[in-house]
């Protein structure tokens, strides 16, 4: 197999290039893309990428794999490779720092803008706040986000307006708190979202749903927010 990796080391490269490596796949088992990268890095330590948990929960190693955003540690080579070629590029739409490492600042800023923390003005009880199983179920499919940015960097609306449109990951987290029966800041949250860009630049392209390595559905969350905003406006 040929592995083609996007390389850019600002210390020495004036512009990005693709570097090709030959890789012998084992016959007896499939590998994850991250294992291929780790083995290549053992030979060429200069290849730059982020990784940590290697089991799809920390969200470090989001990258563009043969044209699809995904986690390197969770993407089997057999599913990604086309015509015996594995092509690895950084997540699109964010500035590249080096090789497969992008500057995530804009992504994190949008996350922070939705105030991703529980707000509850009532006095704290001595024990936990009660929440019914039905209310807790409303958080399923929302709280599991790992902030890998695969969704947001696959979204054309984010590419066009990365500073104004919050992007699918931030909006999923926004809805995670809107949907939480323990949160009392619904009105404030909605009023901060009520402009033409923050939410409404979503055009329903649904790249986010395809890209999410945790099988979450940001488009559905965005539609829920739209509904709340429209209800709130009438």
């Amino acid at each position: 197999m040929q592995v083609s990796i996007y390389r850019f080391i600002p210390d020495s490269d004036s512009e990005p290039r693709m570097q090709d490596y030959e890789y012998d796949l084992p016959d007896d088992r499939d590998l994850m893309v991250l294992e291929v990268l780790e083995n290549l890095k053992a030979q060429d330590p200069s290849i730059g990428y982020r990784r940590s948990c290697r089991e799809g929960v920390c969200g470090s190693d989001g990258m563009n794999i043969n044209g699809q955003n995904g986690l390197a540690c969770k993407t089997p080579v057999s599913e990604a490779v086309s015509r015996d070629r594995l092509v690895l590029r950084p997540l699109p739409g964010l500035p590249v720092i080096r090789d497969l490492i992008v500057d995530m600042s804009q992504f994190y800023r949008q996350y922070e803008r939705v105030e991703p923390f529980l707000t509850n003005d009532n006095p704290r009880p001595a024990q936990e706040r009660l929440q019914s199983q039905e209310d807790r179920e409303k958080l399923d499919g929302l709280y599991e986000c790992i902030l890998c940015a695969c969704c947001t960097t696959s979204c054309p609306s984010f590419w066009w307006n990365p500073d104004k449109f919050l992007g699918p990951a931030a909006l999923l987290q926004s809805y995670r708190f809107l949907a939480d029966s323990r949160d009392t800041a619904t009105e404030e949250r909605l009023s901060k979202l009520d402009d033409p860009f923050s939410v409404f630049r979503c055009r329903g392209v649904m790249n986010c749903v395809n890209a999410c390595p945790k099988d979450l559905n940001p488009t559905r969350a965005i539609n829920e927010i739209r509904t709340l905003l429209i209800k709130n406006g009438t």
Partner: protein
């Protein structure tokens, strides 16, 4: 040296996992100038991988539950070298700390009455071991670590904590009075070296499971804090105590939560026999982890392993039904399908004991204050240095940690350290600044790698070290293998000190970070080896073929390892809780 940038803080926390974030939150809310320095963006920390839950007597599943029962279980689990004052503190303060997490928004699973859901975990009992299995582990499905870490990160955003994300701490800076006055760190994105000066430094760098070739730990768990302490002359305690989790996915090392057995799963050998009934007639598959792991290795060694090579056993979950599996163990379902190509609803999961947790670490008081020992074997504080979480050994886990106690440890002692440091800062601290030579000492390692012109490949040396530790210091240990490994480690040390960093670039140089991590792995491996060889008994996770029995007469002690003369000393275990009678050592049976 003139150009070394300096940043100043009241409190510096090194590590952005559960312990670091809980401490950071406490300090940031107190108004002191606080920074959390983390080599990864905080939500990438290894806490995120914790699955089953956080054990705590909140009396949701059982209204009669009592933190003293939790304390009893923890002391017994530790094989009696857990410090009882610390365990008492953790178990009694625990409920309040868990409620705080819930108030911050942690999305716990719920009971029918809307309280926090609790599940059974290994080593748990009611009524001091007399009342049968308890259900004491508070859970957010099987993604509790993820939920906890994100909630704490979010709370820190609310509290406006300063983050130095993707900064790698190289070494502690110690002034001429022996006071820790901060760290030398690399801002990884630019490659710039910075002196991060602080009145107090709290290590929350987590564990070092990557000293082994087969581990559930993240690639980033390289023992940075332990190694920094050892290089600064601070000893580490009970570092021979490594937990092997019974259910790592065979060949992958990926964890399957103990909660899967808590929900009713069990282990079988090649004959389909539920073999834990023979080893632990009462608790069976929910005996504590050291017991289950040893039983599995015996089954495999005696030829009752599964698969073509008979080198693993099976974890059977299919009888639980898809509804329980999907609602309580959704994360496990996903991990097994992705990494073991097994659907647990249909077929059993191949599992083997896999390195999971470092019980040892920097000895500390309940406040997180790091400790050393003077010549009279009395505890002495290391001024300016604190430690919490897996890097610390406070010691609540002793020779064997109970499942669900690590998350509790992180938040209880992260909070305690934050509160204590707040007090200390309030009293005012004055310390001499670091001299040029103090800083040079902390920069030496970076300089060594920068100047390397030839030598072996760090990645290959790392693989060699991991294989050596895996073959010599896993579930069962023998004198000869340990002796051989100690001399091989000496050889590895000279080779690592002569190894070559080929990539000298500045911008986001992960090769440099990994080279520095290799130094750290070596420190932890060597400490482990010497302490394991030195403890001539079997206790908790430390099982020696040549000393099969626990030896309370000689070894009802902590071990304390000093790197500068590679010596092993003893330190007394605390048997003085303040509100309950101490639990005296008895034979441990499940």
């Amino acid at each position: 040296m003139k150009n070394l940038r300096t940043l100043d803080f009241d409190g510096l926390i090194v590590g952005g996992g559960g312990a670091g974030l809980r401490a950071g939150l406490q300090l940031a809310e107190s108004g002191y100038k606080t920074a959390v320095l983390s080599k990864v963006f905080p939500t990438r920390s290894h806490t995120v991988s914790a699955q089953g839950g956080i054990t705590c007597a909140i009396a949701s599943e059982d209204p009669d539950d009592d933190w003293r029962w939790h304390m009893y279980d923890t002391v017994k689990g530790s094989d009696y070298i857990g410090d009882q004052d610390a365990i008492e503190y953790m178990c009694s303060v625990g409920p309040q700390v868990v409620y705080e997490l819930e108030h911050m928004g942690l999305p716990f699973s719920r009971t029918e009455t809307g309280r926090i859901y609790q599940r059974p975990f290994g080593g748990q009992s009611k009524d001091f071991g007399r009342g049968g299995q308890a259900s004491r582990t508070c859970a957010a499905e099987d993604r509790t670590g993820h939920a906890l870490l994100h909630t704490l990160f979010q709370a820190n955003l609310k509290a406006d904590t300063t983050f130095l994300n993707e900064w790698f701490a190289v070494d502690l800076v110690r002034n001429q009075d022996g006071v820790i006055v901060g760290v030398i760190a690399i801002e990884v994105e630019t490659g710039e070296l910075v002196f991060v000066r602080s009145k107090v430094t709290l290590l929350a760098t987590g564990g070092a499971g990557r000293i082994y070739d087969s581990t559930t730990n993240a690639l980033t768990n390289t023992g940075d804090g332990v190694a920094m302490a050892l290089r600064t002359g601070v000893p580490v305690q009970d570092i021979e105590m490594w937990q092997f989790h019974p259910t790592g996915i065979h060949g992958m090392g990926i964890l399957v939560t103990e909660g899967s057995r808590g929900e009713g799963g069990y282990l079988i050998n090649c004959d389909g026999e539920r073999f834990m009934e023979r080893y632990a007639p009462t608790a069976k598959d929910l005996a504590s982890r050291d017991v289950v792991s040893r039983s599995m290795v015996i089954e495999i060694d005696e030829g009752r392993g599964c698969g073509p090579n008979k080198d693993h056993v099976y974890l059977k979950l299919d009888h639980l039904g898809t509804e329980v599996l999907n609602s309580r163990l959704g994360g496990i379902m996903e991990l097994c399908k992705t990494y073991a190509l097994v659907d647990p609803a249909v077929e059993p999961i191949p599992v083997v004991p896999t390195c999971h947790y470092m019980m040892g670490g920097i000895a500390t008081q309940v406040s997180g204050q790091a400790l050393s020992q003077d010549e009279q074997s009395d505890d002495v504080p290391v001024p300016g240095l604190y430690a919490v979480g897996e890097v610390a050994c406070v010691s609540v886990h002793g020779a064997n940690r109970l499942g669900g106690n690590s998350l509790l440890d992180l938040v209880v002692f992260g909070r305690a350290a934050g509160l204590h440091i707040q007090d200390v800062l309030g009293q005012g601290i004055s310390q001499r600044d670091a001299s040029a030579s103090d800083l040079e000492a902390a920069l030496a390692r970076v300089a060594r790698w920068e100047e390397s012109q030839k030598g072996e490949n760090p990645a290959e040396l790392k693989a060699e070290l991991q294989a050596l530790m895996g073959s010599s210091f896993s579930v069962f240990r023998t004198e000869q293998k340990m002796q051989d490994a100690i001399s091989k480690l000496e050889d590895l040390r000279s080779r690592i000190e002569a190894a070559h960093l080929t990539d000298k670039s500045e911008v986001f140089n992960t090769a440099r970070v990994e080279a520095l991590e290799l130094d750290n792995l070596l420190e932890v491996a060597e400490a482990t080896a010497i302490a394991a060889e030195g403890r001539r008994e079997s206790r908790g996770a430390h099982a020696r073929v040549d000393f099969e029995e626990r030896d309370d007469e000689n070894w009802l002690f902590h071990s304390l390892y000093f790197a500068e003369d590679r010596s092993l000393r003893k330190r007394a275990v605390n048997f003085a809780p303040s509100t309950v009678e101490p639990f005296e050592p008895v034979k441990r049976e499940y």
